[in-house]
């Protein structure tokens, strides 16, 4: 069994999608989305772009399961890092009896 070779047209398609995504994120930044959704829009586009790079340019889609586990573990630990820290910082104002 030899490794999977991604066809060159797939690379071109991903490349085009990444450039479109970049143009889109600049375009979207000049609009004032309701409920301060600008950051959500920007991060969604960035996440889609990153996912395309990981799956196709980095071949994860065609890689062995163990690579999938390692990539997932990175996202999982990032989740812990953000969730626990932000749950502290973003709830500090909730205590009305706080002194000092």
């Amino acid at each position: 069994m030899s490794e999977h070779i991604v066809p060159v047209r797939v690379y071109f398609a991903i490349f085009a999608a990444l450039l479109v995504g970049t143009a889109l994120t600049v375009f979207a930044a000049f609009f004032d989305f309701p409920w301060r959704l600008n950051t959500v829009v920007a991060l969604s586009i960035a996440t889609v772009k990153a996912t395309l790079v990981v799956l196709y340019f980095m071949h994860v889609r065609y890689s062995i399961r163990l690579v999938w586990v390692i990539v997932a573990s990175a996202l999982f630990w990032m989740g812990i890092l953000f969730a626990l820290t932000l749950s502290d910082y973003f709830t500090r104002g909730w205590l009305s009896t706080q002194t000092g």
């Binding site: 490349f15 994120t25 991060l43 772009k49 340019f57 690579v67 990175a74």
Partner: protein, 248 residues
């Protein structure tokens, strides 16, 4: 030498290390190891993204004001440059896999040139910040953080900070600490990547890589794409976050 030649069958590639069964196992082990390293890199940059999130949440107006001072055109051009370089890097891996030496060398060379272009544009941007006295703290003792502030009714000066309501110069400085820490670490990774590409180019010219053995190209490619992904997030978060306040 004679014994080596007799074992030169399907599993006897000269680059095969003795502790691996065959080339495929060796290649997969290399890719796996690189991914483990990239996880540590993700956590490393993750800490800085977390710091960014916290301070942006504390000083939203200052972060938007500071972000508006960055050059969106240079930032967008640099994003495109990095995406093209990721594309040529992916093609370099592809041409190595199918055993085409000349396109492989060409793509590696293009990737290197694009990487250096990115660093050049970044240097221009850093110089602009230097001129506007936006290097935070006293990192440069002869040019401490001391930006001019645009006053109401004065002629518009793009070298001055245009503060949104609620923003202070002190909090803008915090943005620039984070900006230089994150883009600086990213640029350092680009410099290391450029060095790795030079190594690949030299060995590629010597015909070292072939469809059976190309782990160095694949693994450095993974690193290069990772650095691209970091920038994909840095660009909107640093350059674009306050635009709609001015134009919305």
């Amino acid at each position: 030498m004679a014994t080596h030649a007799t074992t030169q069958d399907a599993h006897g590639h000269p680059a095969l290390q003795h502790h691996f069964e065959n080339m495929e196992q060796q290649r997969e082990a290399g890719t796996l190891g690189m991914w483990v390293f990239l996880v540590t890199e993700i956590m490393f940059f993750g800490g800085m993204f977390l710091a960014y999130t916290l301070y942006r949440n504390l000083y939203p107006a200052a972060f938007a004001s500071a972000s508006n001072h960055l050059d969106i055109t240079l930032g967008a051009v640099n994003t495109a440059v990095l995406i093209v370089s990721s594309f040529t890097m992916a093609l370099a891996v592809y041409f190595t896999q199918i055993g085409k030496l000349r396109p492989q060398v060409l793509c590696l060379g293009l990737t290197l040139i694009l990487g250096l272009t990115f660093l050049g544009i970044k240097a221009v941007e850093y110089h602009d910040k230097y001129e506007d006295h936006l290097i935070p703290g006293r990192l440069l003792p002869w040019n401490p953080f001391n930006p001019g502030v645009q006053e109401e009714g004065q002629p518009v000066d793009h070298h001055k900070l245009h503060l949104l309501p609620g923003a202070t110069v002190k909090n803008v400085e915090m943005f620039y600490w984070i900006y230089f820490a994150m883009t600086g670490m990213h640029a350092l990774h680009m410099i290391i990547g450029a060095g790795l590409l030079m190594y690949l180019l030299i060995f590629s010219l010597r015909g070292r890589f072939d469809p059976e053995y190309h782990s160095p190209v694949e693994v450095i490619g993974l690193y290069w794409h990772f650095v691209d992904i970091v920038w994909i997030f840095l660009f909107p978060l640093l350059y674009l976050l306050g635009r709609h306040y001015l134009h919305g």
